[in-house]
């Protein structure tokens, strides 16, 4: 529990807050109470205290929700807290309550060993003032001029929950292995996610090849939320997209446009690009923040590769410094005073760890970045928006 401005008390919610909290959120966020109830109850690992509430005169005045996740990053796995459901009662706005809640959220993350945080929002300025920085997220749209070609030998059908779930989970695991920003989904995620994911089961399709599931796609009204395939069956992606377009064409009137949330290595992109129908979209609406540089590096250390000519690489970002030390192929993280460290902005830190080109990787800094780049072997990072909250 902590004190904030104007008589605000901040604490984690409890079971006793349930009715008031659900009523508050449905009023402020414009979604049904049952949505929040399901999300808070059935999400694996969800706790009431992940709702950080600000209380004034005994009533909830503001709220943020932490959604802890395990996420792949730079060949390792890191704990993150995605922040969502941020709202303040209009009567209490412009008093600094939101900022106070974010600080409380960061303190909660630090206390629970969560080294990074992610937010998706169109109001980037508010979160930037709390230390989050925008990060590129790639997506696509396309409006096919004619139906896509069917892929021979691959059958696409609706997913059968009880029969296909294990295979779908395996495809997801194989597709996201080594892919930065992919959230790790355990068995309970797949068992319970239909409880909160809404009605998109109708457009959850699987691709079958020789009797086995080799890919799947989740879409809703022409928006592809997720598409994955076994690395050795890339043609499954073409088959799945063809099915999405065909189904959408039957239901939609006029020109069909498909929104596609997918990583840059989706095999179908090259063909759509060559056909001149693909629009690549780079959104800077995702915000990232390091809570602890040392803890972040410790989390990714098992996946880092030793550079050719260095055994110790020190990094400084903001007020923090830490050094990655290689003993053979094993990496550990030591404290560092930052005097001889490679200085990176927070945004470049994440661009580096995800395998994207850091913005500062030019001019005099190019040598340092070449060294850092040797340490990370991770391509086509992707955060599925479906994993945010």
């Amino acid at each position: 529990m902590s004190d904030g401005p104007d008589g605000l008390t901040i604490r984690g919610a409890t079971e006793a807050d349930r009715e008031e909290l659900l009523a508050f959120l449905s009023t402020q966020m414009g979604a049904e109470r049952e949505y929040f109830d399901a999300a808070f109850r059935y999400r694996p690992g969800a706790l009431w205290e992940h709702s950080r509430v600000g209380v004034v005169d005994g009533r909830i005045a503001c709220h943020i929700r932490l959604y802890p996740r395990e996420m792949r990053l730079a060949g390792g796995t890191v704990r993150t807290a995605n922040i969502g459901d941020v709202c303040t009662d209009p009567a209490h706005r412009h008093k600094g309550f939101g900022g106070a809640l974010l600080r409380d959220g960061l303190a909660y993350m630090a206390a629970h060993g969560i080294p990074m945080s992610i937010i998706h929002s169109g109001v980037t300025g508010f979160y930037a003032s709390g230390g989050w920085e925008t990060f590129p997220q790639r997506g696509y749209s396309f409006a096919p001029r004619r139906p896509l070609l069917r892929v021979p030998g691959i059958e696409v059908r609706r997913m059968r929950r009880h029969a296909d779930l294990d295979a779908v989970a395996r495809v997801h695991g194989a597709h996201s292995a080594g892919r930065s920003l992919a959230v790790v989904r355990d068995e309970s995620y797949w068992r319970t996610h239909f409880s909160w994911v809404g009605d998109d089961e109708r457009e959850f399709l699987v691709a079958e090849d020789d009797g086995g599931v080799v890919g799947y796609v989740r879409s809703y009204r022409g928006a592809v939320h997720e598409i994955a395939y076994l690395p050795e069956r890339p043609r499954a992606a073409d088959a799945l997209l063809e099915a999405v377009v065909r189904r959408r064409s039957k239901r939609a009137e006029g020109r069909v446009e498909i929104a596609l949330d997918a990583p840059t290595d989706l095999p179908s992109l090259a063909g759509l690009r060559d056909a001149g129908v693909l629009v690549e979209k780079v959104r800077w609406h995702m915000l990232v923040r390091s809570v602890s540089l040392k803890a972040l590096l410790e989390a990714v250390a098992p996946g880092l590769h030793p550079p050719r000519d260095e055994r110790r690489v020190a990094l400084r970002s903001g007020n923090e410094a830490a050094a990655v030390v290689f003993d053979g192929d094993e990496a550990r993280v030591d404290p560092d005073d930052g005097a001889d460290a490679v200085e990176v902005t927070q945004r470049d830190l994440f661009l580096w760890l995800t395998g994207e080109a850091p913005l500062g990787a030019s001019g005099g800094a190019a040598g340092a970045w070449a060294l850092l780049r040797e340490m990370v072997r991770s391509g086509a990072p992707h955060f599925w928006m479906i994993d945010h909250v």
Partner: protein
């Protein structure tokens, strides 16, 4: 042909309507760029004339003593990977109605290509309709890039307090100096010569004029400029150049005010994705859209593979370690590349060296950073051993490239 001649229809309205229908059909079918063997060293056809006035050249085919079909070739220089290439900008392609669909425009373009080759041009660009130019080896090489930012957010960008005044001739020298500094590391922009450049002339659709405003710092000194394509109901920022990139926020604020005046909800930035103004909008949540057309729009090709690579060699070969050799065989020219200790030499094809085979337009797409060697290899357009593909990737990385609307021809 003169204006008086143009007014005199030589065909019936019905025949003209049929022509229009055929042209619409042609434009509805995107075409694949040609991979057929080319020889641009042939002489110009006997009935082709080229009239030159300064840097503007007019290539015409004459039939019965009058111009039947023609095009303009603008002599320009295009910045590519830090060097200037001699670029022929083709525009004003037209054929008299009575000579259409008889192959006259084809002869004009083919002869223009030969003429450019003879004139020492390296590359050529045109803004073309769909379905016609790929047969001459032209291919898309410049994506359409636009970024969008909420007006209210742009209006709140951090600013240095610049004041903006309308552009006037007294700013020409500084505007050009600022422009050339900005484009020195870019690929796509053209050189603007003070005596020849007509300031802020063309818009996104060849008109109306682009409006330019000059930024003055608090002390009243020139700090840069931005230019907008003002269509009246809508406005897009189409160019910006700043002495201090920290002033990008000032440009965003000014663009927000322009957009708000027209009732736009979003500021539209028709700028390269890595332009300082777009970069300054990233923390504010900008959305960038990149569209690569299959055909039509800005189309590019090489005129001389050897001269192009010779000019680029000092820049693209400087990072090469070790030694190597490669023969690059296109449907236009074959050259050899030999590198040793950071120096790249362009020679004739080297017997016994690994071969990289690809059409000239694919090499052009790689050179400007539109397509990567690996994607071309995956598509079967580039046939080369893996180490040659890697060498190409190193020489010609995919990167943002852009052609400013103001320099359309």
């Amino acid at each position: 042909m003169c204006a008086r001649d143009r007014k005199r229809p030589a065909m019936s309205k019905r025949a003209l309507r049929q022509q229009a229908k055929r042209m619409a059909e042609l434009q509805s079918r995107p075409a694949e760029p040609s991979t057929a063997r080319e020889n641009l060293d042939l002489d110009l056809d006997a009935d082709v004339t080229v009239r030159s006035r300064g840097t503007l050249h007019r290539v015409s085919v004459t039939v019965d003593g009058e111009d039947a079909s023609g095009c303009a070739v603008w002599e320009l220089q295009m910045r590519v990977a830090g060097v200037w290439l001699k670029m022929g900008g083709i525009g004003g392609v037209g054929t008299r109605p009575e000579h259409r669909f008889k192959g006259q425009a084809r002869r004009v373009i083919v002869n223009a290509l030969r003429w450019m080759r003879r004139g020492g041009y390296d590359v050529t660009l045109l803004f073309g309709i769909t379905g016609f130019y790929p047969k001459f080896g032209y291919a898309p090489a410049f994506p359409r890039t636009r970024s969008y930012l909420d007006v209210d957010v742009a209006a709140g960008a951090n600013a240095l307090g610049y004041r903006f005044v309308p552009y006037g001739p007294k700013y020409l020298k500084r505007v050009l100096g600022s422009y050339h500094r900005t484009v020195s590391d870019m690929t796509g922009p053209v050189r603007r010569l003070p005596k020849r450049w007509r300031p802020f002339r063309e818009g996104l659709n060849w008109g109306p004029r682009i409006a330019c405003r000059v930024a003055l710092d608090r002390a009243g000194r020139f700090a840069g400029y931005y230019a907008s394509d003002d269509q009246g109901a809508t406005i897009e920022l189409v160019e910006a150049s700043l002495i201090d990139v920290a002033g990008a926020g000032d440009v965003l604020r000014a663009a927000a005010a322009d957009a708000r005046e027209r009732g736009q909800e979003r500021v539209v930035l028709n700028l390269p994705e890595d332009d300082p103004v777009v970069r300054s909008a990233r923390p504010l949540g900008v959305l960038t859209e990149i569209h690569c057309a299959r055909d039509g729009g800005p189309l590019f090709r090489l005129i001389d593979v050897s001269s192009t690579l010779r000019k680029l060699a000092p820049r693209v070969g400087s990072g090469f370690e070790g030694m190597g050799a490669l023969s690059v065989r296109t449907n236009l020219d074959a050259v050899g590349l030999r590198w040793s200790r950071g120096k790249l030499k362009v020679t004739d094809a080297i017997p016994g060296s690994p071969n990289a085979k690809l059409p000239q337009w694919a090499l052009g797409q790689m050179i400007v950073g539109y397509a990567s060697a690996s994607s071309l290899a995956a598509a079967g357009v580039l046939r080369a051993p893996a180490r040659a593909v890697r060498a190409f990737e190193e020489m010609f990385p995919q990167r943002p490239h852009f052609y400013y609307a103001n320099d359309k021809f």
